[in-house]
């Protein structure tokens, strides 16, 4: 692996006495397809929040494309090429669907712009017919698509997809996966957090499992899937549901 696009060094984040991320080290290579699994509350989303700048860790550094971004506010990290979708869709309600897409186009300088760019993005996720609807009139599936389109609008070099497929049907999962594959082929590094195992196993080339704020397994999806510790904390938990 050449120099990683993202390098997380010893990141530590706690809320009060509750340690959410306990000294995580993680390197992500250019163009990689990385999956992150782990039981609920294992620190996956907190780690993502530390990477995107929503949260400031107590300790540790985040290096993106060779420069230390630990002290940058979230919007500057977005402008450098880190985009994310949120676990629960967070649309900009009160403005139309197409204006939602226009926001990152306005504010991220590198975003490939142009008069039809917003419509193209909506077409990519199949929302073009809803362009002028208010964002709060969308269905759950449409909101997830909007979330993805908004993340893509920033022309990211690193996309973090936090449970974009939760609640979707099998056909819809295939649809979203297809889009992520296409994106990855164009050189975008993708980090995927997902509970839908067959989707993440299909997508990822490398899988990481988190538990109580630490990475307990890191390797090929097959190896991580066979790891006894992973089976105990994650699959075991799933089986007992």
């Amino acid at each position: 692996m050449t120099e990683p696009i993202l390098s997380v060094r010893d990141v530590w984040k706690q809320f009060g006495t509750q340690v959410a991320v306990a000294g995580v080290n993680l390197d992500v290579g250019h163009g990689e397809k990385l999956g992150i699994i782990g039981p609920n509350g294992s620190g996956k989303t907190t780690l993502i929040n530390c990477i995107t700048g929503i949260l400031r860790p107590e300790r540790g550094t985040v290096i993106f494309e060779g420069s230390d971004i630990s002290d940058l506010p979230a919007y500057r990290r977005a402008r450098r090429g880190i985009a994310r979708s949120f676990q629960i869709p967070r649309p900009f309600v009160g403005i139309s669907v197409i204006q939602n897409i226009q926001v990152p186009l306005d504010y991220v300088e590198d975003a490939a712009n142009g008069p039809n760019r917003a419509i193209e993005l909506l077409a990519l996720v199949g929302l073009e017919s809803r362009a002028d609807c208010p964002a709060d009139s969308l269905t759950h599936l449409e909101l997830r698509k909007l979330e993805l389109a908004r993340a893509l609008a920033a022309s990211p070099r690193l996309l973090i997809a936090d449970e974009v497929m939760a609640g979707l049907s099998e056909a819809e999962i295939d649809e979203v996966l297809e889009k992520l594959f296409v994106l990855n082929d164009r050189g975008v590094t993708v980090i995927m957090i997902e509970h839908i195992m067959h989707a993440i196993m299909r997508f990822s080339k490398r899988l990481v499992c988190m538990e109580t704020g630490q990475i307990i397994a890191d390797g090929s999806p097959q190896d991580v899937g066979r790891d006894p510790e992973v089976r105990r904390v994650y699959f075991g938990e799933q089986a007992s549901r």
């Binding site: 926001v103 975003a111 609807c133």
Partner: protein, 315 residues
């Protein structure tokens, strides 16, 4: 096309105002007109931070009062003409907005509102203890008759207020339709998601607080010429804070039209109430109207109309 309509509209409004300022014989026209137009400026100014960005400012009285007393100070010390007083008020109000924003906007949501509440009390106490601008007793401001064009000082002040109303609406409309407006709407909806979409939330909020503060202070600047007597209680009146909030809520906070409608409605109702019933009941009416709107039309009249419209359009 839309731009042309807006430009033609403003020119028509200004011409009618100019005509009115020369022809109306009944001084009540100027009196009621001034109040209504002042409300338009206050409502529009408040809405830039309170509506577009969603940061509810309870301290409008502080800004309006500061504008009034800036005008008094400039008149007293430099005998400055009205337009200098207005510019001075806008400058000071903008700075206060920026300072208040810098101190409080890092805190999200409701804490900001609480902080703004204290601002009016702090400023009015300061003025009460400042003898140069009249202190607690108040001050009489005798403006000289306008030398050019306008027949009387009231008609002059009326037209100045009309100009301010047009300016503030043009600014609000410009912000609303630009990338700044979209950024503010994103902040209002979800600040973290806005950050992750590249929106510099703190900078935009400071910008909105500055513009909003400047417009609110501007609304207070012509008041000394209009009333010729000013005391801290009327300049920093709690009514400003209440009305500034009520008018955009009544009209709708997402567009520039909402605050305009709200201001015209509320000033109309107030004028009607003032001439028919005692003034204390006045405030009660505003309160009741506000509660009614919060319950029945949380997005204001425009929201209500918009909902009807989109419901009709859907299959």
């Amino acid at each position: 096309m839309n731009e042309w309509r807006f430009i033609v509209g403003t020119l028509v409004v200004l011409s009618v105002g100019a005509l009115l300022s020369h022809t109306a014989t009944n001084a009540y026209v100027y009196y009621a007109g001034f109040v209504a137009l002042q409300y338009v400026v206050i409502s529009t100014g408040w809405n830039i931070l309170g509506g577009y960005a969603g940061y509810v400012n309870f301290g409008s009285g502080a800004f309006v009062g500061l504008g009034t007393y800036t005008a008094i100070f400039l008149f007293n010390s430099l005998a400055a003409p009205l337009w200098i007083q207005i510019l001075g008020a806008a400058l000071v109000g903008g700075l206060l907005g920026l300072a208040m924003g810098y101190l409080t906007l890092r805190i999200q949501g409701v804490y900001f509102s609480i902080a703004t509440l204290a601002l009016t009390a702090v400023l009015s106490t300061g003025i009460v203890n400042w003898k140069y601008v009249g202190g607690a007793r108040g001050i009489t401001v005798l403006a000289s008759q306008p030398t050019v064009w306008f027949p009387s000082i009231v008609s002059y002040v009326f037209f100045a207020m009309l100009l301010l109303a047009v300016i503030s609406i043009t600014i609000a409309r410009g912000i609303e339709r630009s990338w700044i407006g979209r950024g503010l709407a994103a902040i209002r909806a979800d600040e973290q998601a806005a950050e992750c979409a590249g929106v510099p939330t703190l900078k935009l909020k400071l910008f909105a607080a500055t513009v909003s503060g400047a417009l609110l202070a501007m609304a207070g600047a012509p008041y000394p010429y209009y009333a010729s007597y000013v005391d801290p209680d009327s300049a920093f009146s709690i009514n400003y804070a209440l009305n500034a909030l009520a008018m955009p809520l009544i009209g709708g906070t997402r567009t520039w039209i909402g605050p305009l409608i709200g201001a015209l409605l509320l000033s109309g109702v107030e004028q009607a109430a003032t001439v028919t019933i005692p003034s204390e009941v006045n405030l009660l009416i505003v309160g009741l109207v506000l509660i009614g709107f919060v319950v029945a039309a949380p997005d204001g009249l425009l929201g209500l109309a918009g909902r009807r419209f989109t419901q009709g359009k859907r299959p």
